[in-house]
C-alpha cells in the first residue's frame, strides 16, 4: 500500500502545480471589444476602489459603490455599448488591482491608478482621465508643512502597491515609510498616531479632509499623478473603443458633468487636481498624450 500512497501524493502535487500554473497564466483571451459587439447585453466588469471618498466609496445607505471613477466607468460602458451594456463593479485595492486584471476577473481598472512607466510594462493605459498629484495629509497642529520638513524622525504612512509609496521612498529616503492595506486603514493609523503623515494623491486626501476637518494638506503636491484606465495587454480593439469613448465623453460634456458633481466644491478651478479639460468646458480630449511621466 505504501507505493500507492506515494503515487497519490505525487499525483496531487502534480495536480496542484498544474492548477497553480493555470491560475498564473489565465489572462482573458477573448478580445473584450469583440465581446461587446457580439453579445446582446455585454457586461463590462470594472475594478474600482470602495474606500476612497469621491472616487469610489461604498455608500452604506444605498449599498452601492459611488464616486467619480464609478460614474466615468458607467458613462464609458454606455458609450461603448450604445446603452445596451451593463457596468459591473468589483472592489479592488492598489494591491489587488493588477493581479485581478491579469487573471481576467475584471475587464478594466478605474481605481485612481497613476500611469507609470513600470506599470506600462504590465498593462495598457488609456489617456489621462484625471490629473492627481501626491501630497501629505497631517493633523491640523502638525509641524510638517511640506515634504522638505520630513526627517529620519518621521514615519510616513502609505498604501501598499500605490505609486505614492514608491515616490515617497525615492523622494525622501531618510523617512521611514510604512505600508498599510488601504486608505481607510491608513487614515485610522494616522489618527492613532502610528505615523506623522499619510501620503497619497491630493484628491483622495481632500476627500478624507472633507469627512474629517481636523486634518490638512502639508503644502503643495510634489508629484504629478496622471490617472489612466488600465486594461490587459493584447486587447487592442477594446483599447481603441475605450479611447474613443473617453474622447467622446470628454467632448460632449458628460465628463464635465461628472467632474462637477464630485469635485465642483472641493477642487477650485486651477487647483492641482483639476484637469485641463474641465475648466474649458468641452473640447480637447486629453491634452497630455504622453501619459508616462
Amino acid at each position: 500500500m505504501k507505493w500507492m500512497k506515494h503515487k497519490l501524493l505525487g499525483f496531487s502535487i502534480l495536480l496542484m502545480t498544474l492548477v497553480l500554473v493555470g491560475c498564473g497564466e489565465a489572462v482573458a483571451e477573448v478580445d473584450i471589444g469583440t465581446r461587446i459587439q457580439t453579445e446582446e447585453t455585454p457586461v463590462l466588469t470594472w475594478g474600482v476602489k470602495a474606500d476612497t471618498n469621491l472616487f469610489g466609496f461604498y455608500n452604506i445607505q444605498s449599498s452601492k459603490i459611488e464616486g467619480f471613477d464609478i460614474d466615468i466607468a458607467s458613462a464609458l460602458t454606455d458609450e461603448m455599448t450604445n446603452g445596451n451594456g451593463i457596468a459591473d463593479f468589483v472592489e479592488v485595492t492598489s494591491k489587488t488591482r493588477i493581479p485581478l486584471l491579469k487573471t481576467g476577473k475584471i475587464d478594466g481598472i478605474l481605481a485612481t491608478m497613476t500611469i507609470t512607466e513600470e506599470r506600462e510594462k504590465q498593462v495598457d493605459f488609456s489617456d489621462v482621465y484625471f490629473n492627481g498629484g501626491q501630497s501629505l495629509l497631517v493633523p491640523e497642529d502638525s509641524e510638517i508643512n511640506s515634504i522638505e520638513d520630513l526627517t529620519e524622525e518621521h514615519t510616513v504612512l502609505a498604501i501598499k502597491g500605490s505609486s505614492s509609496t514608491q515616490n515617497m521612498r525615492e523622494l525622501s529616503p531618510q523617512v521611514e515609510v510604512l505600508d498599510l492595506e488601504n486608505y481607510s486603514e491608513g487614515f485610522v493609523a494616522l489618527q492613532s498616531g502610528q505615523g506623522h503623515a499619510l501620503t497619497t494623491d491630493d484628491a483622495i486626501l481632500l476627500g478624507m479632509i472633507d469627512q474629517n476637518p481636523n486634518y490638512r494638506l502639508a503644502g503643495q503636491s510634489f508629484t504629478e499623478e496622471p490617472y489612466g484606465i488600465a486594461i490587459n495587454k493584447g486587447q487592442d480593439f477594446f483599447h481603441e473603443q475605450l479611447e474613443a469613448a473617453l474622447d467622446t465623453i470628454q467632448g460632449n460634456g458628460v465628463y464635465d458633468e461628472i467632474y462637477e458633481k464630485w469635485f465642483g466644491e472641493i477642487l477650485p478651478a486651477g487647483a492641482p487636481g483639476s484637469p485641463s479639460t474641465s475648466t474649458t468646458g468641452a473640447a480637447e480630449p486629453a491634452l497630455d498624450e504622453s501619459g508616462d511621466e
Binding site: L20, C23, G24, K95, L157, L180, A189, S192, Q194
Partner: protein
C-alpha cells in the same frame, strides 16, 4: 523566482526574522497564559473560573484581525504608542492563548476525577495534586493539539502584514507590488513559511515519540 530571491533576499530575511521572533515570543507567552487560564477554568473558585471562561470564550470567538487592530489603533489613541510588530505579537499571544487554555482544560478533564479524590483522601493539597499528579499527565495529552496551535500561530503571524509589522508577509506584499510578479512572490513566501513550520512539525513529532504518546 531565483531572481526575486537574489534581488530582494535582505527583505525576505528581515521578514522571516520578524516572523520567527514574533512567533517565538507569542508561543512562549501564549503557552504560559494559556496554561494558567486552562487551570483556572477548572478552579474551585467561582469567580476565577468565571473570569477564565469569559477570557477564553471572548478571544477564541472573535477574529484575530479585530484583536490586532484594537492594539494597533485603539491603544495608541488613548494610552501609549505601540508599533505594528508589537500590536500584532500581543494580539497573536492573546488569541492563541485562548485556544491553548481550552486544550489544557480539555486535557485536565480527561484525567479521571478519581485521581483528585484519591489524592484528597490521602490528605494532599489540591494544588499539589494538580502539580504532581494531574499536570504531568495533561502535558502528555495536550502535546498533539498544542503542536497544531503552534503551527497555526506561525501562519497566523502573517496578520502582522496588515498592521505594517515588517514580517515575511509584509515584505512579500511589498515585493509583489514592486515587481508585479505576484504569483512567484507568494509562492516564495509560502515556501519560506513551510521552511519555518516543517521543522516545527518535525520537532513536535519527535517530542510525541519521545514521550511515548502513541504507545497507549
Amino acid at each position: 523566482m531565483s531572481e526575486l530571491l537574489q534581488q530582494y533576499w535582505p527583505l525576505f530575511i528581515d521578514g522571516a526574522l520578524h516572523t520567527i521572533l514574533s512567533s517565538v515570543i507569542a508561543l512562549v507567552l501564549s503557552l504560559l497564559i494559556g496554561t494558567i487560564m486552562g487551570i483556572t477554568q477548572v478552579s474551585t473558585n467561582k469567580w476565577l473560573r468565571g473570569f477564565a471562561n469569559v477570557y477564553v470564550e471572548f478571544f477564541r470567538n472573535i477574529p484575530l484581525l479585530v484583536i490586532v487592530m484594537f492594539f494597533y489603533v485603539a491603544i495608541p489613541m488613548y494610552l501609549f504608542n505601540i508599533s505594528g510588530f508589537w500590536a500584532g505579537t500581543i494580539g497573536l499571544t492573546i488569541y492563541t492563548s485562548s485556544f491553548i487554555a481550552d486544550n489544557v482544560r480539555a486535557g485536565i478533564e480527561t484525567v479521571p476525577k478519581g485521581q483528585m479524590e484519591a489524592g484528597l483522601s490521602q490528605g494532599l493539597k489540591r494544588s499539589n495534586i494538580m502539580r504532581h499528579i494531574i499536570l504531568p499527565q495533561v502535558f502528555r495529552i495536550v502535546i498533539p493539539p498544542l503542536g497544531n496551535q503552534f503551527i497555526n500561530l506561525v501562519k497566523n503571524s502573517s496578520i502582522l502584514a496588515m498592521v505594517a509589522g515588517l514580517d515575511l508577509m509584509y515584505f512579500g506584499d511589498f515585493v509583489a507590488m514592486e515587481t508585479f510578479n505576484t504569483f512567484d512572490t507568494y509562492l516564495l513566501v509560502g515556501g519560506m513559511y513551510l521552511a519555518i513550520t516543517l521543522p516545527l512539525t518535525y520537532a513536535i513529532k519527535k517530542l510525541e515519540l519521545k514521550l511515548g504518546i502513541h504507545d497507549n
